[in-house]
Amino acid sequence: MQTEIIHNPGSAAARVHLENGETLTAEGGSMIAMSNDVTLETTTKKKGSGGGLLKAAKRLFGGESFFFNHYTAGTTGADIWLAQTLPGDMMEMQLDGQTVILQAGSFVACSAGVDFDTGWQGFKNLLSKESLFWLRVSGKGKLILSSYGAIYPIQVNGEYIVDTGHIVGFDETLNFKLSKAGKSWVSSILGGEGLVCRFKGHGTVWCQSHNAPSFGKILGPKLRPR
């Protein structure tokens, strides 16, 4: 499997080339084009996984009809083009046994050896109902993720603060603490929910430079009423 990401960080799309028999699991709706020697299976579970992600997955993605497409290339190989809904960046991550915590909306696709579950509850208590859900991703293989904004890494070596709306994913080895904006900070300072995450320890945090709700709040009011 080879991946090529183009037009990043603003209008990113990924071209995944599959060899004969290789499989790619991608979020439904993320395929924009494909060459034709491909079989496509649509399910609501991850291919090969025992239990269904059904209910958890629906909740994860805001209750909308949620499904995965499993693409398997035929003898001549296949090209599959993937993209997300909003403008933004994409990134390929090679997992080699480590675990990352990923904002659920950032997941685009993965190869066969990658597993993900929705059991991670680390941010649960402090975040409101409308906020993001998180995936715990592990295994060996390729992971393709997307973001709103440009993705930039932070190598944490001590303590670092990230506005929660700007987190794409992070190494599970990091310690973190969520807090609302402190008393000395005016609440208008932060976009999003006014929540920041303090990361501690050693590991990587992948940040996105922008956050979609901030843009939605600026653009939305200018548009035709619904």
């Binding site: 960080p9 603003g10 403008p87 300072i189």
Partner: protein, 219 residues
Amino acid sequence: MKTSIEGRPAFAHFHVDLEPGESIISESDAMASMSADLDMKARFNGGFLSALLKRFFGGESLFVNEFTNNTSATRRVTLVQSTPGDMSSMELNGNSICLQSGAYIASTTGVKLGLKWAGFASFIGREGLFKLIASGDGTVWYGAYGALLERVVDGELIVDSSHLVIYEPQMTLKVQMAGGIFSSFFGGEGLVTRVNGKGKITIQSRSLSGLKSWLNPRL
């Protein structure tokens, strides 16, 4: 202080590496991430009355943040705008530049921010009654939705008002309401600015009003 702007022009963001003792001022909701031991202080943007004026008429926030490095090592803060788009910086050496409201992102402490009257037509077109003037010694960072493109003016140029970002103070602007031949082919609110004089301007290659006009019929 070392700074770098990345992600241009789609999602420009800039990393500021502050040396011990250094500070940078930014508009209020600009922080995406920062070292935990940087000090952050919210301040009123200028005096209280001018801050109010800026808020209601200039579209700037009441507050600015000042980030100061009170540690003994280099510390980083990453700053962004609330819309996607491009970012750039300009060095000021006692000179001044005029910025459209909303274009200001950050500046070093030697730069002063003031207001300039933009005229009633500009207000009706929702471009703001005032434009911001940045002057002094230091660096000012600015941005807009779209890519920032420089243009040289020698004489007169007609610019859709929602696409003008920066102009030099010696240039004169005349804002005209939509009407006649201009309404049908300029986007946005149909407000145009006639820029006169000799100097450089910066335009943005997209506008939120253009985006709205494109999107509304398809909602």
